[in-house]
Amino acid sequence: MSRPVPPGDRPTADPVALFIERAEQVGISVITVGTHDEAIERAVALGRERRVQRAALWDTPEMAPIRDRLRAEGVEILDPRGTFETFAQAEIGITGAEWGVAETGSLVLSAGPGKPQAASLLAPLHLAVLRSDRIVPGLATLLERCGPLPSALVLITGPSRSADIGLVPVLGAHGPTAVTVLLVAG
């Protein structure tokens, strides 16, 4: 018996628009910016708005300018090579995102050196920077393109939630209560 072949993704005319629509439907805030510099400004502005005092960031070239600007504003940047306990004190976790999946409105994050899962998991607010050209139509395309897998590849589709107690949906069951995406269009 030969192996049945899974179908590909349904083509979408505008994956970016679909991504935004679907992400917002699951409670992810999407802020569209034109350039990475704008993304940096918005990230810093968000930190200021939320009066963030401690932030956990990925240790990557993409995140470096954000880190430096936040530090300049007096925000404590938690050691990205630190322990879980360290990260648990963060009020915001700022990461990149490898991919976006339009069909489900999901972010896709890879674990790796300098890219701990803790950054997108422990703080009540998760902020992710995603380039719009990394958005794929659906899961089939993602799995085709994702290449050799890291130790952890996580699809994130909204803030942490549970409706276990009295059927009432509650956010921030264990993970973040809020997820915001800075979508870099350029």
Partner: protein, 473 residues
């Protein structure tokens, strides 16, 4: 199957469940809501039927080539630095995991939701070996505090209202009485955060295991499984043999159908694809990865041509959400961690028909479950088969044999059939009032306990037809 000798008294359990007004309220709210959510999510995909067929075919392909895919999975996981353990039954699985805990000096364990670990009664064994186990899925945490077992495949504490959970937290955690779900969830989050940070071992289930890459896929909404696998230095993943899938690409089918079927979501909040333990330079993820592959009756089920398709099950819970019997009975009535329609097949298969003989009969064969099963398991057909096996192995009750025996006797010829009618019409004079019967004697008294019974007509159809023929049209 020596773990489970006593018969599950499903009839008594369901009667008890029906008297539990709180349970009826909870289930009466939860199940219709889940049904609506599923229906909406499925209506969005015009290719739904085709996805179901593809999913069923992939699963059947895996089942037909199981050993090959399991070997491939093992070899990939090992190459990644993980250790694969084979457990032929529950006792062996418990021993593997408790030995691991003991040999690594593990005192504190966090667990994310896994029906497979419930199936093997893992927690008591770990406690007995001196390791404290804390369930971290919110529903499972509540169930653990209450000393109960989960009642639904994906909503473990669906049977409990908020007020009871509030009381439970006061009793067990010594916190003030919180009325609102958000407050209770916050209490649990704080307690469990500390547990994640302290635990040396995290135990999870596995939704799908990809043979080509050795990737373990865990699907959840809360983030507790991510925490369970990111923080503790040892990760133990427990999977039934049937969870293996050939390739990563297959996930595009199964992830689409799992969340939509179970909760009506396009995707669960977190889908973790875990490929090996932590790598050089990484600061989270387990240092040690162990995969326990469990048989516990699955290969025996695989060898059963009438029932083997039940192994396609992806544990979405849609059949439970759809089943009116399950809605009224609740999961605990089934006496096993697998309840509802899939439970009525798996529990007899894994625990024996002797013990679970009533489960396949707790159904009107309405087929609602078969309609929604994302992998097209013919559950009603399997229930029919299990009923036949029940009778063939002499498990039918005296009452059933009598009723069916009488029915067959009187329907073997028109003459006997008419005789039965005549006898019935005579007998019913004793009990019929105003064209109805309000009290039928044993063995039919169950009918009139809940509704009036019709009377046999004074002129059966065939008598009318005969006279009509005699008169000419």
């Amino acid at each position: 199957m020596p773990d489970h000798p006593t018969r599950i008294d499903l009839i008594r359990n369901t009667e008890q469940a029906l008297r539990d007004a709180s349970l009826q309220r909870q289930m009466g709210k939860a199940m219709p809501a889940s049904r609506r959510a599923r229906a909406d999510a499925v209506a969005e995909l015009p290719e739904w039927e085709s996805l179901r067929s593809t999913a069923a075919e992939i699963k059947d392909h895996v089942l037909a080539n199981l050993e090959g895919y399991l070997r491939q999975l093992e070899s990939q996981v090992s190459a990644l630095g993980g250790t694969v353990h084979w457990a032929s039954d529950a006792a062996e699985a418990r021993a593997i995991i408790t030995d691991l805990a003991r040999s690594r000096g593990v005192r504190r364990i966090v667990k994310s939701k896994s029906m497979t670990t419930e199936e093997i009664f893992l927690n008591p064994a770990l406690e007995a070996a001196g390791a404290g186990v804390v369930e971290t899925d919110l529903g499972e945490y509540v169930v653990q505090l209450a000393g109960e077992r989960p009642s639904h495949l994906i909503a473990p504490v669906v049977h409990k209202p908020t007020e009871e959970i509030a009381d439970l937290f006061v009793r067990k955690l010594g916190v003030p009485r919180y009325e609102r779900p958000e407050e209770l969830a916050r209490v649990a989050r704080e307690v469990l955060r500390a547990e994640f940070l302290a635990a040396e071992m995290g135990i999870t289930g596995v939704n799908f295991a990809i043979a080509e890459s050795g990737t373990l896929v865990i699907v959840e909404n809360e983030g507790n499984a991510r925490l369970t696998t990111a923080r503790p230095r040892i990760h133990v993943a427990v999977m039934g043999v049937e969870k293996v899938l050939p390739q990563l690409a297959d996930l595009s089918v199964f992830l689409r159908i799992l969340a939509r079927s179970g909760t009506g979501q396009r995707s669960s909040v977190y889908v973790s694809l875990l490929t090996g333990p932590r790598r050089a330079g990484e600061t989270d993820g387990p240092e040690e990865l162990h995969l326990v592959i469990l048989d516990n009756g699955r290969r025996r089920l695989l060898a059963d041509p009438d029932l083997r398709a039940a192994l396609r099950c992806i544990r979405c819970g849609a059949c439970q959400n759809e089943c009116p019997v399950y809605q009224h009975a609740g999961g605990h009535a089934y006496g096993s961690v697998y309840a509802g329609p899939i439970g009525a097949v798996l529990t007899p298969a894994y625990e024996g028909l002797e013990r679970a003989r009533d489960l396949p009969f707790a159904s009107t064969l309405c087929r609602a479950c078969a309609d929604v099963c994302p992998v097209k398991i013919d559950l009603p057909g399997m229930l029919v088969e299990l009923r036949a096996r029940s009778v063939r192995t002499g498990l039918a009750s005296w009452r059933d044999r009598m009723l069916v025996g009488a029915w067959t006797f009187f329907t073997r010829s028109p003459a006997r059939f008419m005789l039965a009618g005549s006898l019935g019409r005579l007998a019913q004079r004793l009990v019929a009032r105003g064209g109805k019967i309000e009290r039928l004697p044993y063995p039919l008294s169950g009918w009139t306990a809940h509704r009036a019974a019709p009377v046999l007509a004074s002129t059966p159809f065939r008598a009318w037809w005969k006279s009509r023929q005699g008169e000419g049209r």
